[in-house]
Symmetry: C2
Subunit: 522 residues, 2 copies
């Protein structure tokens, strides 16, 4: 798995934009939550990852148990949580004559309670696996762990006390944090219970990712990616309507372009705003898309005026990537995300993303009455024409991508969303896609979102609902409290990182069903 790493990254900071973003920093809502039950994990090959939890006792009974060397227990908070963990330790027996050594493991899924993190050998940093080993010199003690965790389960392992004392645990508490005001969202009462449940889990997912920026995952990466932001913002307009947080995130990206004016694929906000040295063709364009969606929802003309140059610049830079036939140049050292699908060629879906975004840019240019509108329209026509000429395989009746003429789901889906063909052609293309099922399929909920939306815009609402249920509905059946970063119903152990332990099980880009259900009245 290759990653981007720039030797030399030049950032042209825009202090005014950064200051705007700072002003919009949201306050976090805190809620005290307690565990529900003590559980144990059991092997069960019928369950995802092979592990299920079983009820042992109510969590309220915990304080009466005493634990010594090598004893352990698991607490279940009953739902996914993001927050700060604290508990009280009471020694029993003789006065404690040695420190307590205690290990805590936090997990979003039962497998994280069952399989030792020591065995993890994926290529993403093992430091994402949520655990702490602490030494407590003085007992009794109230422990407040300083880090934020994302979890449903927490395992306590008493590594050592001494021969003279045991410990009991009391007042296990979590202070959850989110910038989402749950009172701001209108609940729906869907007549379809499954869609109702999918909507609820979407909102929970979205809530837990909504921190002082829109995070991609509260367990792993915990940062602001443009691709996730675009989808979170769409979900936001249909639910919390916290438009200021979207605005903040847009200003963060606009605050740290590189010397060409390109916005990074993601930014860090601590210890200060830092642009990651990852630049993605599609993600940079999504700045324009996200500004478009923000303006449509907020009608915030002032922000549109201020951020338009940044948005337009992303399109300009993308256009520089076109070859003489107006086709996005493919290359080994070129970066566009599209999906985690193994072997996916990014050329054609990227061309589609460009078309999709240019249409939005033209709409914004229209609002702004700026002259760029005309040149964009001229280029758009060329590019759409080129796509039809060079990327459409009339024989297969599929869009093809790259030198190997790859037929992927991503290419068809994005070309439909880009509106390159007419509605009837789109409908036929989507039908063909679902029937013929090309091998280069879909790896993430992120791409699944685009599949469902492509079905909707091509008039296939029922198929869209069916696909949503067979994916997000099945995820719920497989135990999702919040929607997962990655889910392949045919290969439930799938991870692009080398281990499902490191997957994020609450991930922003999976929260879009609430948008799709509410926006399109599914």
């Amino acid at each position: 798995m290759s990653i981007q790493k720039l030797e030399k990254q030049v950032i042209i900071k825009n202090d005014h934009f950064i200051e705007q973003a700072e002003q919009l920093k949201p306050k976090l809502f805190e809620t005290d939550v307690e565990p529900i039950s003590i559980v144990e994990v059991k092997r069960d090959t019928n369950i995802i990852h092979g592990w299920k939890t079983e009820f042992v006792a109510p969590a309220s009974s915990l304080a009466k148990y005493e634990y010594g060397k090598n004893d352990s227990f698991i607490l279940d908070f009953g739902n996914h949580q993001v927050g700060y963990f604290s508990f009280h330790i009471r020694p029993t027996g003789s006065p404690p004559d040695a420190p307590l050594k205690l290990k805590l493991t936090f997990g979003e899924m039962p497998v994280e309670m069952a399989e030792p993190f020591e065995n993890y050998e994926g290529w993403l940093s093992s430091s994402w696996l949520q655990e702490e080993t602490i030494f407590v010199d003085v007992l009794p003690a109230t422990i407040r762990l300083p880090r934020r965790y994302s979890f449903r389960y927490v395992k306590f392992e008493v590594i050592d006390t001494s021969k003279k004392y045991l410990v009991a645990f009391e007042n296990i508490q979590l202070k959850t944090v989110t910038s989402a005001n749950i009172n701001d969202v209108q609940t729906i009462s869907h007549q379809d219970a499954e869609l109702q449940k999918i909507d609820e889990v979407s909102i929970k997912t979205f809530t837990d990712c909504m921190q002082d920026v829109f995070e991609d995952g509260p367990k792993r990466d915990r940062r602001l990616w443009l691709g996730d932001l675009r989808l979170q913002a769409l979900a936001n307009y249909e639910t919390f309507k916290t438009n200021d947080l979207v605005k903040r995130c847009l200003y963060l990206f606009a605050g740290v372009p590189d010397e060409r004016g390109m916005v990074p694929a993601n930014v860090f906000v601590a210890p200060k705003l830092i642009a990651d040295d990852t630049y993605l063709f599609d993600y940079s364009l999504f700045f324009t898309a996200a500004l478009h969606d923000y303006y449509l929802s907020s009608k915030d003309y002032e922000t549109l005026v201020e951020l338009w140059p940044t948005a337009y610049r992303q399109v300009e830079l993308a256009l520089q990537r076109l070859d003489e036939h107006h086709i996005v140049k493919d290359a080994a050292n070129w970066w566009s995300f599209i999906d985690w699908q193994e072997g996916l060629n990014k050329q054609t879906p990227s061309q589609a993303v460009l078309i999709y975004t240019m249409k939005q840019a033209i709409r914004l240019a229209e609002v702004l009455r700026v002259p760029e509108k005309n040149s964009l329209e001229v280029r758009l026509e060329e590019i759409v024409e080129a796509a039809k000429t060079y990327l459409w395989d009339e024989e297969q009746k599929f869009f093809i991508s790259g030198p190997e003429r790859q037929v992927s789901w991503a290419s068809q889906i994005w070309m439909v969303l880009a509106g390159v063909l007419n509605k009837e052609e789109n409908k036929q293309l989507m039908k063909r896609l679902l029937e013929e099922k090309p091998v280069v399929a879909i790896a993430t909920p992120y791409m699944y979102h685009h599949l469902v939306e492509a079905l909707i815009v091509s008039g296939e609402k029922e198929r869209a609902i069916a696909e949503m249920k067979s994916y997000w509905g099945r995820m719920i059946l497989d135990g999702a409290d919040t929607f997962w970063e990655l889910y392949d119903p045919e290969n439930k152990d799938f991870s692009p990182y080398g281990s499902y332990l490191i997957n994020s099980y609450c991930h922003a880009w999976s929260c879009t069903p609430t948008y799709l259900i509410r926006k399109y009245d599914l």
Copy 2:
């Protein structure tokens, strides 16, 4: 290895005494210390534990190295230190996109840097082994570890960063703490360089154990034991003369006797004053001895008056342990410490400790002009007589102990210190002891102290010096920066706890050579 654990412990708190102790809480002196060098550990079977360190680079060059996953290095502070550790972490490369997972291991000895703590299987709690695994979410960061460590070496192991960044370490600092004011001690210039060095290492040991109480070991147990206190106080009168700290410790013990009035063998001072549920025949008597020594040194009559009842009570309780022949009753479930020597019978050395203490109690009673003096004198005569009658083996010309008539070093040494025989007989006994070398020998510097002092009081100063050199001098040759809790020149891997990893390598009861050298003008 059995330990004391009381089902029911009744403490009769004396709030006035506890308040007195609180008032005497010393201020700690802080000094900033930096590491000297980067070292590595190498196998060398000629070295104690089989490990030596080798210089790699000056510590000042550390900041220029960059470390990634699985990289590690060891810093050497050049001498034993006790304090609070801090350092700065600077990321290099791309912006850090994952937490840093870092393991720190602190060691007093090279072996602690070389042998993994995971392999420790001793019976004392593994929680004493000094290590931390920390996750740093935001970089750069200045880390200030909240716990106090006792060490010379610290190993940094970068468990994981990510593929995108490395880390460099800067501003490695230790804030050492001690209540010893090093300016208060008069340095000596001994013509014998070996004794000079032994004196210096003693004082360093004593300094590092001198915290807000006299701790036994700053790495392991970190608490106030009566047996250690008595020896630390003796060292103190010849060096720092911080008599108020001795006074504080006496009041702490006097503050928490049990329902019979017995003081515990040790106390904890955090989160508040707590008497351990360990009671030892000899250690309780050492309260009386320690008060005796304190009064002789300080002439603090007020404290003597206030604490005399507690001191006298310890003798009374010890006397209750005598059988009809005035001999300390031996039993399997009876506790007297004396030494860690495997299989040592405690009866005769305990009888000697009683005699030793009674003589001190009589001296105090004389100062106080209290009537207990007479009864103590009567009892003392009976007990000394009984010792000669029942515990002296005329044939072997050794004191014997227990039903098996065990001839141990401890019995002879303590009987000499108790002055049961006359000076010439003592001299002969000590001579015989060193010549015949009974199997039940000496396991600790604590008992070695008593051997040397017994040689001195029986007029064998040269032998005393020779023994001191062959023990403490050899410890220095074996690499002691501070004197160790345990040292057997014939079996350098010795530990009564099942592993030398858990031994304390800076231990108060080993600091007495400075007392012996200075007090007896060796």
